[in-house]
Assembly symmetry: C2
Homo-oligomer: 351 residues x 2
């Protein structure tokens, strides 16, 4: 793969810049900081596709009205253990951070909370929210479903979304184990990287514009689901859990192919359980560590190390927190142009 030219920025300086940009675009200071938290966290963890590269799109969505810089979110406690957050176009980081924090409060009482988020935009890296709750002592499942951009087994067109699933559990000495996986065989960003590198895609990754499977990255249009019918079925069930329970089904509306039906929006679900309901929390954290240690010690097959979900991201975060976040020059230039337009001073580069 080609390595594009990069710049390096300190995490705090980048956070302040992004926060100030969202504030200049009309958000209040606190929620602007929350969006910056989630995006910069993704860059720190090495998930650059979900980081500050998304800022321009947020700004577009505020301008077009797809997203609301000052959303009048409403939160309803529908039952002792059930929460519904009407995001009303609030950015995903704002709606989902609110939902997961409220769910934690409820789960301290009831043991478990199912928090549904209706009508947000771009949820970012959902591992952010599940990891945040796991660190505080909760077992967490996070699910998102959005606008179709992936084939379903047998379909020739985008049918369902590359919806992610995240699961996190509290640990002690080990970093928090946090799975964050899309239901697609390949990310759209990865297809673009194969295209730039002129390499063939792995078999079963994508369909071309005619709905025929292809390994030609230049012709790939629609990612296929991971593991065939399993990924397809999982994505469909996430739409039913997230879209139908919030009364905001996306797949049905999208396939009407009206502008309103195709409008970008997402629904989400967090299931948050207080581990202290089950076992003493220190014992839970110790058992999690013991399981991760066991995994590390297993006989290996052609691998330097066995990693648990979230382990690589935690070490990338440690490194980038210390020495700065590398950003592709193109992303940085776009961010700076938007910052200057909004009257925000760009962060200083590190080297």
């Amino acid at each position: 793969m080609e390595t594009p030219k990069k710049v390096k920025v300190g995490a705090q300086a980048l956070h302040a810049m992004v926060r100030d940009m969202f504030a200049a675009a009309g958000m209040e200071a606190a929620p602007a900081g929350v969006v910056a938290d989630v995006l910069v966290w993704a860059n720190l963890r090495g998930v650059d596709s979900h980081g500050i590269a998304r800022v321009p799109r947020y700004l577009e969505m505020f301008a077009s009205g797809e997203a609301a810089a000052r959303a009048a979110m409403e939160t309803q406690r529908l039952r002792p253990g059930v929460l519904m957050v009407h995001a009303k176009g609030a950015p995903g980081p704002v709606a989902l951070t609110h939902a997961v924090r409220q769910a934690m409060e409820i789960a301290r009482e009831t043991g478990v909370c199912w928090a549904a988020v209706r009508g947000t935009v771009h949820t970012g890296a959902i591992g952010y929210y599940t990891e945040l709750a796991a660190r505080e002592g909760f077992a967490v499942i996070g699910l998102v479903a959005g606008v179709p951009n992936m084939a379903y087994t047998g379909s020739s067109v985008p049918a369902v979304a590359t919806s992610p699933v995240s699961i996190a559990m509290p640990s002690a000495a080990q970093p928090t184990p946090v799975l964050d996986m899309a239901t697609a065989a390949i990310a759209l960003g990865k297809i673009a990287q194969y295209k730039i590198a002129g390499k063939p895609l792995p078999e079963g990754s994508a369909l071309d514009a005619d709905g025929v499977p292809t390994t030609d990255a230049a012709k790939a249009e629609t990612p296929l689901p991971m593991a065939g019918a399993k990924g397809a079925g999982l994505s469909l069930m996430l739409e039913l859990l997230c879209g139908v329970l919030t009364g905001n089904p996306i797949v049905t509306e999208y396939h009407t192919h009206t502008p309103e039906g195709e409008r970008h929006r997402q629904n989400a679900t967090f299931i948050v359980a207080d581990v202290s309901a089950f076992q003493p929390p220190d014992r839970v954290r110790a058992m999690v560590d013991a399981t991760l240690d066991t995994l590390h010690g297993l006989p290996r097959s052609g691998a330097d190390a066995i990693l648990f979900p979230g382990e690589r991201g935690a070490s990338t975060l440690a490194a980038r927190s210390a020495s700065g976040i590398p950003l592709p020059m193109a992303s940085w230039k776009k961010l700076v142009a938007d910052a200057e337009r909004l009257g925000v001073r760009p962060a200083a580069l590190l080297d």
Copy 2:
């Protein structure tokens, strides 16, 4: 693939035979009927690997003490929304049917219940439990984790279990959508079928006895996870959710390689939400149907039909309920031998 000689048995007659066998092996009548419900359901749905072919293994486990024919199960309501079922070796169908039914009762009050099942054996097809609750108006997630029988990304040995995930939602005119997927790239039973047929396995399906990837079904020892690191990570997180929260971690114990550590056992989790907490239930069922209808109507790519999760199983169930369950002669003969040993009269064959 070779088609082995089959016999055909009526579902009710098969159910009565299996129930009477479990009763003769020491179970009380009602739980014996529950185990028969779950196993015969799997055969009716076409999931023959989880059907009555498992009866001999249950009988062995009762004889060896791995499973308890008359388990003194204990149920604790740990918090308003949290249930723990101590199965104490009760067969999975007994412990899990109890857990999911109790969770439904709790969810009617609190909106959601997290039910943890500690120390059961052989849970059967977990779609049985999620489908049962979905039909009654609940959104359900079912998770199981057991003894390692699958590689983890980078390991040369069985590291984690081929743990299944099931998700079900209530529908109206359509059959209940119910996903029930293992986290492995291939089932052990499928490897055996490839071996019999002398066909190569798909790439990335399995490791040989030395921990090296192989497509030779005769040499395949350990299935690989589905979708690489995604399936591995998902299985690990299921162990943390099911094993750690019940205080009965299996992966850690298994890798001590003591007889006790390697003993067959499983933990399970059901998350059950009352859809009427979110939306009027008729509206939920209608939105689910609309989504499934949309899927059916999509442009297809080389497929006769687009099926939602559980759809094929529902049509197989309809056909086999009407005309009987085909069983491989070898399974049937083994079942009859066990029945005769227990003094139970075998079901009459249909043709």
